[in-house]
């Protein structure tokens, strides 16, 4: 089996067998990556895929912000704006969010539980390639979406694809079909990957690795995978029903023929809200590893953290209709979803308190991963508070479909999830490549990104309160929104510069970065007991653990953790 370094030309020089950079060597190297079933390589492929689409989705976001920077702009036509808007949302949720999860999980779960690979290595490869081709199919719609009528191109019905807009009467051509079909394909990939994570974490744990000694990273990925299994199914069902409507004369969502658009909304949000937690729980998982290591303390309240994760997943299955307060539900329905949504605040609050308690009294090192996690804590708290505001039905009636909602979920998706993704990449990059990312560039990346983030999304709350609806392609000058939109767009550009710094750092440090060694952060979980990058088999001998921090026990034999667990 070939080495598990990054799939870039430099890997050839680093290859153990001294291959030369030639067409034959390149093809052999490419073949290695295409046919691999190694969880580390598949994890890297997932991450590269995620980062690539993060850049694509970022470009789409910049196009949106250029269009909205001034009133009455015509940089994009309304039709192109709708496509870009839809593809930005779909890309970020399905091709970035869903793939970073399995990137980290693939690479790290087997290493953390002391296994040599995922439980089903071939299914693992199939899951990745389904996700890969699903994404390709989605973007192929830009050139193949004209379909029979020459109408439409890429999907343009927003990432939630509300009915009856997606019915044939209103969306001729194939745009909604590409959206549905590509996400059905990536959905199959998600189901396969979720089954693999659960089976690996539950069945391949090394000796001594009881459930109460599992790293919280693994715990949260198991919870995420269960949630993904439950959430993806109704979406796939709804998409199949939509296709039946469009091609086989069905009437599920056809309001002209006795169907109900409301059913689509229910199906979509039964998927859509747990999906938020599917995305954010792995971000929590990263924070659970980074914060203790850089605070030089064990995580505070391990059982409560694990239980809170299960609690979040459970409650998240019963909150979907808070996206539908303005649709017109009964008072009982409104009240139920207000209360259930507020209930999520309890396990989430437990987590925030425990992270803060972990940092309290610790000797904190503000290296780049910790900077991102610290910002995540503040931003996720604010995101939670605006979430509570939006959970109150009367507030929601006023603010629904306004930029306040956009600001709220970008606080979750960017302020929490993307910040934790960056933290995770800075933290585990040395393990994956054997080289450290530049701290100097990392700090530039962090400060530019955190400033750009707040300039954009803090201001966006104001736009929402001033009544600017989401999804509009332009606005009149007399609405009073122009200066605020200008500021939001400036923040977007600052974030784009930060991401470019990050991309440069990734490439530059791969060739020029400081050699990492096996344990550069003085960490405690099993992956740091392997070389960087780890060999194909991970561990020459099956490890045995006696506590939640096996490397701490080895480093501090006079004061091992098992005495206190």
């Amino acid at each position: 089996m070939a080495d598990s370094t990054f799939p870039v030309p430099g890997a050839l020089e680093a290859a153990p067998h001294g291959r030369r950079w030639s067409q034959a060597a390149f093809l052999a190297w490419l073949h290695d990556w295409v046919v691999t079933v190694d969880h580390k390589k598949l994890g890297i492929l997932y991450m590269l895929y995620s980062i690539f689409f993060l850049l694509v989705g970022g470009v789409e976001a910049i196009l949106i912000r250029i269009q909205l920077v001034r009133p009455d702009m015509h940089f994009l036509s309304p039709w192109v704006f709708n496509r870009v808007f839809t593809m930005h949302g779909t890309t970020m949720v399905f091709l970035v969010g869903m793939t970073y999860i399995f990137g980290f999980a693939n690479y790290l779960v087997p290493l953390m539980v002391g296994a040599r690979d995922m439980a089903f290595p071939r299914l693992n490869a199939l899951s990745f390639w389904l996700t890969f081709f699903g994404g390709i199919l989605l973007y192929y719609s830009f050139i193949g979406g004209y379909g029979l009528y020459g109408a439409s191109s890429a999907p343009d019905t927003m990432w939630w694809a509300y009915s009856p807009l997606t019915e044939r009467a209103f969306s001729p051509g194939h745009a909604p079909d590409y959206w549905a079909l590509s996400l059905i394909v990536t959905g199959f990939g998600t189901i396969g990957a979720s089954i693999n994570v659960i089976a690996t974490a539950l069945c391949l744990r090394c000796k001594g690795m009881t459930l109460m000694r599992l790293p919280l990273f693994v715990w949260l990925n198991v919870v995420t995978s269960f949630l993904a299994l439950l959430a993806i199914t109704p979406l796939t069902a709804a998409q199949v029903m939509l296709l039946i409507d469009r091609y086989l004369g069905g009437h599920f969502f056809d309001t002209q023929a006795g169907g109900s658009a409301l059913i689509w909304a229910h199906f979509f949000w039964i998927f859509g809200h747990p999906e938020v937690y599917v995305l954010v729980l792995p971000a929590f998982a990263i924070a659970n590893e980074v914060i203790p290591v850089f605070s030089r303390k064990a995580i505070f309240g391990y059982p409560a953290m694990a239980a809170a994760s299960v609690g979040i997943a459970f409650v998240s299955l019963g909150v979907w209709a808070h996206h539908m307060f303005t649709i017109g539900m009964t008072s009982v329905g409104n009240t139920f979803f207000v209360l259930s949504t507020m209930l999520v605040g309890i396990p989430t609050g437990i987590k925030i308190f425990n992270w803060v308690a972990t940092m309290w009294g610790g000797k904190i090192r503000f290296a780049t991963p910790m900077l991102f996690c610290t910002a995540f804590l503040f931003q996720f708290l604010i995101a939670g508070l605006t979430g509570i505001i939006l959970s109150v039905a009367p507030w929601n009636w006023q603010l629904h479909n306004s930029y306040f909602v956009i600001a709220h979920f970008h606080y979750v998706l960017v302020g929490a999830i993307v910040f934790c993704i960056f933290a995770g990449i800075y933290y585990w990059y040395p393990k994956v490549t054997g080289r450290m990312l530049s701290e100097k560039l990392g700090k530039w990346h962090f400060w530019l990104f955190v400033i750009g983030f707040h300039v954009s999304f803090d201001t966006m709350h104001v736009l929402g309160i001033l009544g600017m609806p989401r999804s509009i392609f332009t606005y009149e000058a007399d609405r009073g929104w122009a200066p605020w939109n200008f500021v939001v767009s400036i923040g977007g550009f600052i974030q784009a510069i930060a991401v470019l710094v990050f991309a440069f750092n990734l490439v530059h440090s791969y060739f020029k970065g400081r050699v990492a060694g096996n344990d550069p952060w003085d960490a405690w979980t099993l992956e740091w007991a392997t070389p960087s990058p780890p060999p194909a088999y991970n561990f020459a001998e099956d490890p045995v653990v006696t506590s939640r921090r096996p490397l701490w026990d080895i480093k501090h034999p006079e004061d091992p953790d098992w005495r206190y667990e």
Binding site: M1, A115, A125, A199, P535, I554, H556, R563
Partner: protein, 282 residues
Amino acid sequence: MDSHEQHGHSGNTIHLPAPTAWPIVLAFGATLIFAGLVTHVVVSILGAVLVVTACAGWFRQVLPHEAHEDVPVEAHEITIESERTHVTRIEIKEEHRAHLPLETYPVLSGLKGGIAGGIAMLVPALLYGIIGFHSIWYPVNLLGGAGVAHWTNPTTAQIAAFHPQALVIAIIIHATASILVGLLYGAMLPMLPRHPIILGGIIAPLLWTGLLHASLGIINPAFDERIQWGWFLTSQITYGLVAGWVVAHQSRIRTTQSLPFVMRMGIEASGLHSEEGEDHRQ
């Protein structure tokens, strides 16, 4: 499923699943089947052929015996040690008790404070109705008007008149809010430093009045047009002072904060008992 045994040692090599192209072929074929629905039927047919081929190839690779490759074990020098050998325990100092009170008020005190504050704030509220609109029902209807179903843009005279439905709704809202805030006072006052009455009686009502002032226009524009913020603030401060005074004058009870966590949880744990004899866990 691949178990540890299947990934086992054989001399200086380790068995790992062999690389295979069938997953990518299967994934490509499945995608083509779907893509054919929006392009051409030939694409779907090609996809189906690839799926069948990939399945056959995949089955042949795992049946009757799973294909594997032997990866030679390389010698790696792994050092697991920390430069920070000194372990420091966090000491909990006594001043941290300021945030976890050793004594608190019983739940009943919050209930009493809430009821007393709720009754006290009726005085400025009714005064406001009598002085401003010659009717005690005006503030009642402002609060409970949502319960009068047929009201859409009522006149001042209508709001100043008696409406039994509005009265019932107003009593429910007022009693519930008063009792809940009173309970909050009972829980929070022991944690407020130094002048709890000033913080709970004046500062807190000022803060929530400010919050409402900023947001009432969005929540209830009709109410926002009619509310008199001076009177509103007076009634809130009256509530805060009376509820805070009643709570603060109740007798305190000891909390379990001074006991170890494990004793509060009622469980047996290390630290309470001798750790001798635990070496067998190594």
